[in-house]
Each structure stands twice: as C-alpha cells, then as structure tokens.
C-alpha cells in the first residue's frame, strides 16, 4: 500500500512571550496510519495539537493538510472550519463531553454541520420538512452504529456525565468520529484507563484506522499502547523533534532513551 501524506507540518514554531514551546518541528502524518507523538511532560505535544486544531495560531511554520488532492493550510483556517473543511478533529486530555446531554445527543451534536444544511439552517426543521427529518434519522442511525461499536447502545439515553471514565473516553472518540474526519487527533486517550481498557482502546484505534482509512495522530504516555499500534512515532523533547521513525527504531534510539531516562553526566 502506498503511503499518502495526509498532514505535513513544516518548521512549526510556537512561542509564548519568551518561552519557546515548539521549536522548528517538521513531520508528516500519513493516511491509513497511526502516528504517535511521544515525549516527556512539557515537551510541547499538546501545543502541537492546539496549533493543528486552531486553538493556537502558530508563531511560524506551515500546517498543510491534503484532502481530495487539494492542500489546505490549517493555520489559516478558523477553529471550527478546521473540522468542516479540513476534517481534522481532536479529543482532549481531560475528557470534554457535553456532560448534561445524553450519550446519543453527544453523537448527534457532532453532526451539526450536516444537520444544519439539511434543515435549511433550521427553518426547514421548524416547518418539519422531509429533508430535515431524513437527515435527523440518518444522524441517529450513524450515532447508533458508533454506539454499537463502543458498546454503549444500552445507555444511549443517559446523561453522558453518568458514564464511567473509560466509557466517557470511548464516547469522546466516537463523537469525534461522527464529524466524519480525515485526521483524528487523540490527546492521551489511554490516560486513567486500566491495562485491560488500554488494550481494548488500542484494538479500537486499529479498527478505526483499518475500517475508515483515516490517519490517527496520537499523543500517549502508555508505551504499551504506543509501541503496539503505531506505524510511525515522533519524539519531542523541549519543543524539538529528537527522533522520527518506526516503533522498533525509536525503542533503541539513544537520544530517546536519554530524554526519557536522563543522560549520564559526562565527568
């Protein structure tokens, strides 16, 4: 299978006043692949995500996403446009569900753009037009598929905030997938999960990659997940890229080991 570059990050830098959070980082993420970004705390991993998804405006660099043969510059798009036009969607380190709304509603809200168009910007929905009802049914059907996949169908009508933590994490991923993305950015999806849940999550991510053929960008500290499923790993330390390669290469890379375990001071 040929690798097609989905996201090309070139010379990305992000400075906050005098602090350089990301310093001239370049990497490529491919479609139908899981790309992991790892690195010690404070290495700038989440900052990369925030730049990609429009929460921060990068100080310098290009973020180019290829969609249907066209290249979109993410740093020039508005936050909500990044999802709609480029198909880049993210989850959060601390789960951000719509806690008071039901599990099903969380998944339907994610399909807002499609539903809004089908309901003629809600006016058609107000009049009960057929196109609105049809799109609503389709949205629920799509949500239903994802509920089956994450095994939450039975709890569909419960408030999302009532779910156990592991289920909330799965729901957040399913909600992101309901936007129909090309690139799914997951910020520490295994944080707070027990080993069995982590293993389930890893299988779930692989199945998403294989079934939908999308690219997954993954920030994760759980090395059993990262090493097990990543096609490609990027290592950041102090805002700089120190390694980039397949899991086997990264595992034995001396600079990576030094960054994680600390370097022996030369006498």
């Amino acid at each position: 299978m040929t690798r097609d570059a989905l996201l090309t990050v070139a010379n990305l830098s992000m400075r906050f006043g005098g602090v350089v959070a990301i310093d001239d980082v370049s990497f490529t993420a491919y479609g139908r692949e899981i790309t992991a970004i790892i690195g010690p705390n404070g290495a700038g991993k989440t900052t990369v995500f925030n730049c990609l998804t429009g929460f921060y405006r990068p100080s310098a660099g290009r973020l180019a996403l290829t969609r249907d043969g066209k290249s979109l510059r993410l740093e020039r798009l508005k936050g909500h446009r990044i999802v709609r036009d480029a198909g880049v969607v993210r989850t959060f380190q601390n789960v951000r569900l719509f806690a008071g709304m039901t599990v099903l509603e969380n998944l339907v809200v994610a399909q807002h753009a499609v539903l809004t168009r089908a309901s003629y910007y809600n006016f058609g929905g107000l009049l009960g037009l057929k196109s609105h009802r049809g799109s609503e049914r389709a949205a629920v059907a799509r949500a239903r598929e994802w509920l089956d996949r994450i095994e939450l169908t039975a709890r569909a009508d419960e408030p999302a905030g009532n779910l156990p933590y592991g289920a909330q994490r799965r729901l957040e991923i399913a909600r992101a997938m309901c936007t129909g993305p090309r690139l799914l950015c997951l910020d520490e999806p295994a944080a707070g999960l027990n080993p069995r849940e982590s293993a389930d999550l890893a299988r779930f991510l692989v199945s998403i990659r294989d079934r939908f053929g999308i690219g997954i960008l993954l920030i994760e500290h759980d090395m059993s997940v990262v090493m097990g499923i990543s096609d490609h790993i990027i290592v950041l330390n102090y805002g700089q890229k120190i390694a980039d390669g397949a899991a086997a290469e990264i595992r034995h890379d001396p600079t990576v080991i030094a960054a994680y375990l600390g370097e022996e001071e030369s006498a």
Partner: protein, 412 residues
C-alpha cells in the same frame, strides 16, 4: 455542637443582623426637622432577636433541619402524566375568564402572569439552554414595547401588523448586543448585559424627542378582533366587534380579548421553544452551555450559536414587550428597570433552567405572589423573599430539574 460553638455562631449571626439593622432600622426619615430621627432600640431588638433565634435554631436537633428535605434531583413524571397536566393547565387557562374566578382583577393578573411566562421562556433560551448569563434581558422587552408604541404613533400601524416587526426589531437588538460580547463568558458577559439593559433604559429616559422621555407614550391602541375594535361606538367607516356580534359593550371584553391574545402567543412560543430545542441549533445551544471548547473542537461555530441564542431570546422578549404595551396602553422607561430583568432571571432559575413547564410555573408564582401578598401591606416583600428562600431550600436546582432528551434512541 458545643456550647462555645453555639455562642460563636449566634454572635456572628447577631453581628450580621446588626450590620443590616443599623442603617435599615436605625434611621427613620421624616418630613420635618433635620430629616430623620434615630430609633436605636429597634436595632437592639433586631440584633437580640437574631442572637436568640440563632441559638434556638442551633439547639434544634440535626434531624429536624430543613436542608435534608431538599429535593436535589427529581425525576419529572414521564409521558402521559405531563401531557395530562399540561392539557389540564391549558384548559383551565382557556375557561378562566368565564369561570367564577374571572373577575377583572384576576384576568388582568393572569395576563400579566402570561407575559412573564413568555419572558421566562425567552430568557430560558439564553440562560437555560445556551448558558449565557444575561442580566439585561429587559432591554429587549423595552425595545419590543417601544417599537410597537412608536410605530403606532408615527405610522398608525396596528398591533397585529406590528407584533412580528417588534419581534424582529428586538432580535436585531439581540444581535447588536451579541456582537461585542461574543468573546465574553460568565461574569464578564453578565456585567456587559447588565450595562446594556441600563443603557437602553437611560436612552429611553433621555431621548425625549423620540421617546417622550420619562413621560412615556400613551394612547397605544388595543389589539383588534381580526380588525374589529372592541368599543362602544365607532368612528365612521369602522365596524366594531360589538356591532357585528350584537353584544353590549363592556370594558371587560377588551381585557378578556387581550388575555386570549396573550394566551395564544404563549402557546405559539411554547410550541416554538419545544420544537427549536430539538433542532440542530437547539442542541448546539445546549452543547455550548455544556462546553464551549468542545463545541469548537467539533466544528460548531460558537459565535453563530451565541448570536442565534441572543436573537431568539430577544425576539421572544420583543413579542412580550409589544403585548405588554398593548395591555397597558401606556409605557414609560420606568417599566423597564433592572428589577424586571432580575424577576425574569429569578423565574428561569426558580423554574429549573431549561425546563419549559418549570419556567411557566415559576412565572405564574412570581407574578402572582406579590399580588396575593397585597394584604400583608408593607411586609409583602418580606413574604416574597421568604417564599423564594423556601423554594430554594427545598428545590435548590429549581422546581423542575429533569431534562428531557431532545432525541431518544430507545423509544418508550
């Protein structure tokens, strides 16, 4: 609780009572002399009463405390029970003017209550659904009322022609308020909206050339019965309702008609609110209330969502304003002070944010409570405050707290 703790607790309560009583009870203004006299004995009595009262309250065993009876989460009776209750309420509202309760005073009061119901549902969109704390909601009420009053004065437009236009003008005002506050949330938003409410009132008060200032605008026409005015005699060329139906004119008829107009408007707005909650925009409002950052991350544009919420809430406020102007026949800036915003906000909070039925009940309670309390004369506000405190103790999250999902997977 030990005796020392009880003493400390009571002393603290007494201190608060003293701080309140000293300026409030300690000085009484008079028309003569130097303008006031002092009555510090009252302060002493109040402080002492607070001290003793708190001591006694602390002696009451824990198991008699009110708080434990607080109902934090109540399941709303589902399905048929709610439909039946709502149908019964609507039926009651329809027959009210012809029931034994249908006196002039009750119909007038019921109309006022309905206006508050409409206002409550309008603000519920902004505060209850979208989670945007708006302390200046009265501004849109004023915009609706004044645009109707001025349009009749300048262009001779009737109530029915002006009702939708008043709503639209108010919605435009909502967008105008929304634009500068798009980036604000929570406390900051509350302060700006509070300021907006005051600005509108002050403009109405001072722009005498247009609004006639504090003197207000009078002679606002009443709503006609499909073009036929209700009046004893008519100018040439106009057929009156009384003439067509051969009914003897009675001033009460106008009141009853206005009541029905108000009831119909409330029912339409209820249908509208229930419907819009299930549309994409309604769900987006609730998502915005739950988590704005997650909204952005899912491709929802928070700016559009906020503007639609402000515009929809303002439009409903504008309708209520036009109806209010038609009911009173006279409006002045005094009717649109901060007190009104606070009342409507209390209705939404008391009713249970986001709950249609709860807001309606709270509106009826808050609109009629001061009237029922009239016999209590100067203790009316005390009674009103106590009632609010009691409701908040027993139902801290509002009368109805259960949220009905906008879409269900497993139909019941």
């Amino acid at each position: 609780m030990s005796a020392a703790q009880r003493l400390k607790d009571a002393a603290l309560t007494a201190l608060v009572a003293f701080a309140l009583a000293f300026p409030l009870l300690g000085f009484q203004t008079t028309e003569t002399g130097n303008g006031y006299f002092t009555r510090f004995s009252w302060v002493a009595i109040a402080t002492g009463a607070a001290f003793v009262g708190r001591m006694l309250l602390d002696l009451v065993p824990q198991r008699f405390h009110l708080h434990q009876y607080a109902v934090r989460y109540t399941a709303l009776p589902e399905g048929r029970a709610v439909t039946l209750a709502a149908a019964a309420l609507i039926l009651f509202a329809i027959v009210l003017p012809f029931s034994p309760f249908g006196s002039r005073r009750t119909i007038d009061l019921a109309t006022l209550a309905l206006i508050y119901v409409i206002l409550g549902w309008g603000l519920n969109v902004v505060v209850g659904l979208a989670g945007l704390l708006d302390l200046g909601y009265v501004a849109f009420y004023a915009v609706g009322a004044y645009s109707f009053a001025l349009a009749t004065e300048w262009y001779g437009l009737s109530f029915w022609e002006m009702l939708p236009i008043a709503g639209m003008i108010a919605a435009t005002a909502g967008i105008l308020l929304g634009l500068p506050v798009l980036r604000l949330r929570g406390d900051y938003l509350a302060i700006v909206t509070l300021g907006f409410g005051e600005i509108v009132r002050i403009v109405l008060n001072n722009w005498s050339a247009v609004t006639n200032g504090p003197n207000g605008i009078g002679d606002i026409p009443r709503p006609t019965v499909f073009g036929m005015p209700i009046s004893p005699g008519a100018p040439t060329g106009v057929t009156t309702f009384n003439h067509v139906f051969g009914i003897e004119y009675d001033p009460l008829q106008r009141l009853i008609w206005l009541y029905y107009v108000c009831l119909a408007a409330a029912l339409v707005i209820n249908w509208f609110s229930l419907r819009i909650r299930r549309l994409p925009v309604g769900r987006a409002w609730e998502a915005l209330r739950e988590d704005e950052i997650a909204c952005r991350a899912l491709g929802l544009n928070p700016h559009t969502i906020k503007l639609t919420a402000f515009a929809t809430g303002a439009m409903i406020g504008g309708f209520a304003g036009a109806i209010f102007a038609a009911k009173q026949g006279f409006i002045s800036p005094e009717s649109f002070n901060f007190q009104e915003s606070a009342t409507v906000l209390s209705i939404v909070v008391l009713g249970g944010m986001g709950s249609q039925l709860g807001v309606a009940l709270a509106a009826v309670i808050l609109a009629t409570l001061p009237e029922f309390g009239r016999e209590l004369a100067q203790y009316r506000m005390l009674f009103f405050g106590a009632a609010m405190v009691a409701i908040m103790i027993w139902r801290p999250r509002g009368l109805f707290t259960m949220r009905a999902p906008s879409v269900r997977l497993n139909q019941k």
